[in-house]
């Protein structure tokens, strides 16, 4: 909780702290910048793209050059344009999948953490089981079942990531429970649910907040993995993983650019998220001040 307060805190001290913080850690700045770039691409990517990212052309496998900065792929699609537009899909999937996972996981985590009765523990056990399923293959099955669409991929990935949040929140709840104010709340005769969602929930959000960007990163990686085996979003939707998949067989024949650039893009995007998560973690951690 203090972490969250500290973030929102507008005291001079905190401002000074933030400035000092970022001056001391250029990496965090890089991270935030990266995230900003990709987020803005989500919005402006399409308008910036020099070519239509989904329209086939007869510029077949052009190497990088003045006409196509990052070359073209087998269908004559401009790699650069597709990379610019891809965040619209990848980042959307990443962020909304993570958000959805939080929405599913957090409340269940609180319940399973606080309720020491059968359904509390049942939830916990159920998610233990879910956590055992090999996520990738299950994702493939689910997508194959639900059909290739952005929304389906989002739901599937969210489902697969929610156990993580359940676990996170549950353990945090366990630690928060001991705190005085919870007992106090209980003594004041608040209902269990009120305690859980008015007192425990807000105080258990810190790890979730930190985990969020990381998770978004995972979601993006998982998506690209799915597309790599042809179970991702529907082609020719520009998506980094799919682009890598198209380029993979071209590496041996010398058309390295088709796979190389999207790979770098994924790397940067996820790296950005990871870095900002890292910064968030330190910012929210009172002991690191």
């Amino acid at each position: 909780m203090d972490g969250v307060k500290r973030l929102s805190g507008t005291l001079g001290r905190d401002v000074r702290y933030l400035v000092g913080f970022f001056r001391a850690r250029p990496l965090s700045v890089v991270g935030l910048v990266l995230v900003l770039i990709f987020v803005s691409l989500m919005v402006f990517g399409r308008s910036l793209a020099p070519y239509d990212p989904e329209k086939a052309s007869s510029d077949f496998l052009f190497p990088p050059g003045p006409k196509h900065w990052m070359g073209t792929d087998r269908a004559g699609l401009d790699v650069f344009s597709r990379i610019l537009v891809a965040p619209q899909v990848d980042l959307t999937i990443g962020l909304s999948a993570a958000a959805l996972a939080v929405l599913i996981g957090t409340p269940l985590g609180v319940i399973s953490g606080y309720m020491h009765n059968w359904y509390g523990s049942t939830i916990a056990r159920v998610f233990d089981v879910l956590q055992c399923l090999p996520p990738f293959v299950v994702a493939m099955c689910l997508v194959a079942f639900a059909g290739q669409s952005v929304s389906n991929v989002i739901i599937v990935i969210a489902l697969l990531n929610s156990p993580l949040f359940v676990r996170l929140v549950r353990s945090k709840v366990h630690s928060v429970q001991e705190r005085k104010f919870v007992e106090a709340a209980a003594c004041l005769g608040n209902s269990k649910w009120r305690i859980m969602f008015r007192h425990l929930l807000p105080n258990s959000l810190e790890p979730v907040l930190i985990q969020f960007p990381v998770n978004a990163g995972w979601a993006i990686l998982l998506t690209s993995g799915l597309s790599f085996v042809g179970a991702g979003v529907r082609p020719p939707t520009p998506e980094w993983g799919a682009m890598i998949a198209v380029g993979a067989p071209l590496l041996v024949t010398g058309q390295w650019w088709v796979a190389m650039f999207p790979g770098i893009a994924v790397g940067l995007c996820v790296l950005g998220l990871a870095l900002s998560a890292n910064a968030l973690e330190i910012l929210l951690d009172p002991t690191r001040r």
Binding site: V137, G267, T287
Partner: protein
């Protein structure tokens, strides 16, 4: 009240319902898949008559719950049905491929854990130092790359361009035949059989995938180790021990002991998850392990194979997690099972 025993028992008691739930879940999940195993098996070019009688032969014309019960009956006798793609019993297929995956996993994770702990400890020794900064950067970078991309690039550089690595096509050179099977892990078997060139060849083929795997995973472990070590180092009880002049040897014992739980849990968690997650690495190196098997099965709508794989993989993970919980309970008196 003997803690270990109680811990183990309570946990085991939980496993049975979990396993049942698991099987039911997996069974349903796979039955949801589109595509029709019968038609796939007949290659789409077959008269209705043969489709029907095959469907009947496979018992796929029965209601779903009956199918599930039949499946469970088989499962109890270790029968996971037949894969139509390989025309072998799924159990056989898995038995044959599991060692390949394990060999890759054990080696890869071994190196990853080892380096992770090592570098993690070192960088925690001097926070903010050069080693530390580099470690963090590496951890972030490695975690940000899709593993299959790392693999592709390695293949591109070491095989296609430099030609120093062997072809990313399985575990042995073309003319090399597998050593007599004991464990199914070529390294061990070849040593047992004293076939040193086979051993060397197997090692050469392991190199790239193992490097991919450990490069991909070491980062996370490093980061984890580092933060754990720092936490412990800053913790009140270590500081107190210092204040009252506890011997260095005992100090080290304290640190280690308190570092153990999180690191065990991380290693096991990763290992458990990886059984399903090396899929793509295997795909890139056509490793012929469980991972590749599962992907091919999903792609060709091979129900039985997919179900079998999920069952096995999930059960293994489940067991690993139990082991973890028990270990936890043994190490940390605060944990109640």
């Amino acid at each position: 009240m003997d803690r270990p025993a109680r811990a183990v028992l309570t946990r085991i008691a939980l496993v049975i319902p979990q396993l049942i739930g698991l099987t039911a879940l997996v069974f349903l999940l796979v039955r949801l898949l589109p595509g029709d195993p019968v038609i796939s098996r007949l290659g789409g070019v077959a008269p209705q008559e043969s489709i029907d009688n095959l469907r009947h032969k496979l018992g796929l014309d029965l209601p779903i719950h009956v199918q599930y019960l039949n499946y469970m009956k088989g499962l109890l006798h270790g029968d996971l049905g037949d894969s139509w793609r390989t025309a072998q019993p799924v159990m056989e297929d898995i038995k044959m491929r599991l060692p390949a995956t394990l060999e890759l996993l054990i080696l890869g994770m071994g190196i990853a854990v080892f380096l992770g702990l090592l570098v993690g400890v070192i960088s925690a020794g001097k926070p903010g130092g050069l080693v530390d900064r580099l470690t963090i950067l590496y951890a972030l970078l490695a975690g940000s790359m899709p593993e299959f991309y790392i693999g592709l690039i390695l293949v591109f550089v070491f095989y296609v361009t430099l030609g120093v690595a062997p072809a990313p096509a399985g575990r042995l050179g073309i003319a090399m035949l597998p050593p007599p099977r004991l464990t199914g892990m070529y390294l061990i078997d070849s040593v047992m059989a004293g076939q040193w060139d086979t051993f060397r060849d197997a090692l050469r083929h392991l190199a790239l995938p193992v490097i991919t795997l450990s490069f991909w995973q070491a980062g996370a472990i490093m980061k984890m180790t580092r933060s754990t070590m720092l936490q412990i180092d800053e913790s009140d009880f270590i500081n107190y021990a210092r204040l009252v002049g506890v011997k260095p040897s005992i100090m080290r014992r304290y640190t280690l002991r308190n570092a153990l739980p999180p690191i065990i849990s991380l290693a096991i968690t990763i290992f458990a998850i990886l059984i399903g997650a090396v899929v793509l690495i295997e795909q890139v190196f056509s490793w012929g392990g469980l991972g590749q098997y599962s992907v091919q099965s999903v792609i060709s709508a091979d129900y039985e194979a997919v179900t079998g794989f999920l069952m096995i993989a999930a059960s293994i993970s489940l067991l690993l997690f139990i082991v973890m919980d028990v270990l936890y309970a043994l190490i940390d008196p605060r944990v109640k099972l």
